[in-house]
Point group: C2
């Protein structure tokens, strides 16, 4: 079993949203995205037949894609990775991304 | 896109740990497990070649399996679903389980 403490083992950057791959197997890629207030991950998408579950662990911001949706801690968004998605943080925000099956170029 | 508010859309039960399937596709099954203090999910395992990521969203307790491990909010455990696992809640606990690929009997 792999045990990860997200609060201790993931970092923030003053320069840009901080991306950290926590786990990667054939089945599953887990990526932590940590944002300081005002930072964003621009809208993007991947040409893969995988699904993405994005969980907001802390803070609040705006999910961006075809529509803008306010999101906060406890919100879970599930979508194909080929659908445009991004996030703008209003406060300090922690997001955990689960991509299944694994997408190596994430 | 499917948007789920875990704090509003998942429930607790006085009788036992509350299990709620939030999403199920070929790639991915998401299940919320909510525990009142003292409730537990007995150690179990599934005969499938899938991986399980368990994220503690709230509270603290003990992950149970080959070894007992204290866990708290922000802890993420990743293991094959065929490895014995369970949880005993010390406080009110919310856990989100990601199973990939999907396991229908979960």
């Amino acid at each position: 079993m792999k045990l990860i403490n997200l609060l201790k083992e993931t970092e923030f950057s003053k320069d840009m949203a901080h991306r950290q791959v926590l786990y990667d197997s054939r089945n599953l890629t887990l990526v932590a995205f940590n944002f300081e207030a005002g930072q964003e991950l621009p809208v993007h998408c991947l040409s893969a037949d995988s699904e993405l579950a994005l969980l907001v662990l802390e803070g609040d911001g705006e999910f961006q894609g075809e529509n803008a949706v306010p999101v906060q801690a406890g919100n879970l968004m599930i979508l194909p990775v080929c659908v445009p998605h991004g996030l703008k943080a209003h406060s300090r925000v922690r997001v955990l991304a689960f991509i299944s099956p694994s997408v190596t170029e994430y």
